[in-house]
Amino acid sequence: MYAASAAPLTRRAVLRSAFTAAVLAGTAAALGPVLRARRPRQTLTPAPLVEESYRGRHISIDPVAAAVRIDGRPLHVMRRADGSYLSGINHFQSYASPLELARAAVDELGTTQLAMAAPHHG
C-alpha cells in the first residue's frame, strides 16, 4: 500500500532529479573551464594523482586533498599558518609543496616504510 502510493512520488522525484542534473550538466559544460580554474573540486573526474619515483620510493600526491602516500602508505600532512606543509616525519621544518614534503620524508626514512597507522595529534 505504501509502496503503491510512494511509487509515483519516487518516479517524479527521479525525473526531477534527472532534469535538474541535465540542466546542471549543461551549465557545468558551459562554465566548465571557469569552475575548473577556480574550484578544482567541481570537476566531474577526480584530479589526476601526481606520481613520481624518488630514490627508489613511489610518491603519490592527490593535489586536491594534499594527501601524500609513499609506497602506498599515508603520510600525515599538516599545514603551517603561512600555508606551507609539515608531516609526521618532518615537524621542525616546513615545505612549499606536498611534493617537496614527500621527498623530504623519503630522505629521512631511507629504506624504512611508513607505519600503516600513525599516532594522532591532539
Binding site: A81, F92, Q93, G110, T112, Q113, L114, P119, H120
Partner: protein, 287 residues
C-alpha cells in the same frame, strides 16, 4: 636542589647512571608515555586549536614542565641523576663524546638509518621503538644529514635570539616575524637565506626520529631541551625588565583567541601556568 650538568663534563660513571635510569623507564613503560605526550601536543598553527608545546608562546614553559616530569621519574629511580644539557654551539660534531659508545651512541647506518652503537642500539635489546610514524622498531639518526648537509647553530645564531628583548609577538605562532625571542629560538623565524635556526635546526641535524613528532624516542631530546631551557634563563638574565607574553589572552575576535596560553592560563596536560614555570630556583640549577 640539584644540578643539571653540561654533558661534556659528565664522568663515565655519571653517563652510565643516566643511561641506566633511562633504560629502566623504557623497560617499565613510563618512557613511551612521554613520547606519546609530545606527539599529542604538537598542534600545527593552521589548526584552529589550542597550541601549548610548539609554534606558541608556551614553548618554553611547556617544555620546562615536560622535562621536570621526566626528570622526576628518573630521580625516583636514582636520586643522583639529573638531565644533562648539550650545548650544541660548542659540541657541534658527530665526533663529540655525546655520541660515543659509552653515552648516547652514534649516527645511523646508511640505508635504514638504524643506530648501531651505544645503549640505545636496537641490537642491545633494550630500546624498541613502539610509538612511531614509521615501521622502524629501532632508533634512527642521520647526524649532519650527509646527503643535504646542515650545520648545528652557531653561538652568533643563538645570541641573535637571546638579544631580542621581546619575549614573543603577535600572531604568537610560527610566522611571528616582527621579533620575539621565542620564535627566534624555537627556530621558525630566520633570515630568508637560512629559513631554520636554533631549536628546529638541531632536530633536523640529528635526523631520524628527532625530525618527527615522536622526537623523544631519541634520548638526546632531553639533553637538547635542557639546553633550550638554560637559554631561556640566559634571556631572562639579559632582559630583566622583559616578561612572558602575552600577559592577557587574545580577546574574542582575535584569530589567536583560545589558541595560545597567556601568562596565567593553565597548560594541559598538567594545568600549570607559564607564571609557575618562570623560575626553577629551589628545584634545580645549571652548572
Amino acid at each position: 636542589m640539584y644540578t643539571r650538568q653540561n654533558q661534556k663534563d659528565l664522568t663515565r660513571a655519571q653517563k652510565q647512571r643516566f643511561t641506566a635510569a633511562v633504560l629502566e623507564l623504557k623497560r617499565n613503560g613510563t618512557y613511551d608515555q612521554f613520547v606519546r605526550t609530545h606527539g599529542k601536543y604538537f598542534v600545527p598553527d593552521r589548526d584552529r586549536k589550542l597550541r601549548v608545546g610548539h609554534m606558541s608562546p608556551s614553548f618554553f614553559p611547556w617544555h620546562r614542565r615536560f622535562l621536570l616530569e621526566f626528570e622526576t621519574q628518573l630521580r625516583s629511580l636514582d636520586a643522583g641523576v639529573s638531565i644533562p644539557y648539550w650545548d650544541w654551539t660548542t659540541d657541534n660534531s658527530p665526533a663529540s663524546s655525546l655520541w660515543a659508545e659509552d653515552f648516547l651512541g652514534g649516527t645511523g647506518r646508511e640505508g635504514d638509518h638504524q643506530v648501531m652503537t651505544g645503549p640505545f642500539a636496537y641490537g642491545k635489546g633494550n630500546w624498541t621503538v613502539t610509538v612511531g610514524v614509521s615501521e622502524a622498531r629501532y632508533l634512527t639518526r642521520n647526524l649532519g644529514r650527509p646527503q643535504t648537509p646542515i650545520k648545528l647553530p652557531t653561538k652568533a645564531e643563538l645570541q641573535w635570539a637571546v638579544d631580542d628583548p621581546t619575549y614573543d609577538a603577535a600572531p604568537w605562532d610560527s610566522t611571528a616575524q616582527g621579533g620575539g625571542f621565542r620564535n627566534k629560538l624555537e627556530g621558525w623565524a630566520a633570515p630568508k637565506s637560512e629559513r631554520w635556526r636554533n631549536h628546529n635546526k638541531v632536530h633536523q641535524w640529528i635526523g631520524g626520529h628527532m625530525t618527527g613528532g615522536t622526537a623523544p624516542n631519541d634520548p638526546v631530546f632531553w639533553l637538547h631541551h635542557a639546553f633550550v631551557d638554560l637559554v631561556w634563563d640566559r634571556w631572562q638574565q639579559r632582559h630583566p625588565d622583559s616578561g612572558y607574553l602575552p600577559a592577557q589572552p587574545p580577546p574574542p575576535g582575535d584569530l589567536q583567541h583560545g589558541r595560545v596560553i597567556a601568562l596565567d592560563e593553565p597548560m594541559p596536560p598538567w594545568n600549570v601556568t607559564p607564571r609557575e614555570m618562570l623560575r626553577h630556583q629551589g628545584q634545580y640549577r645549571y652548572e
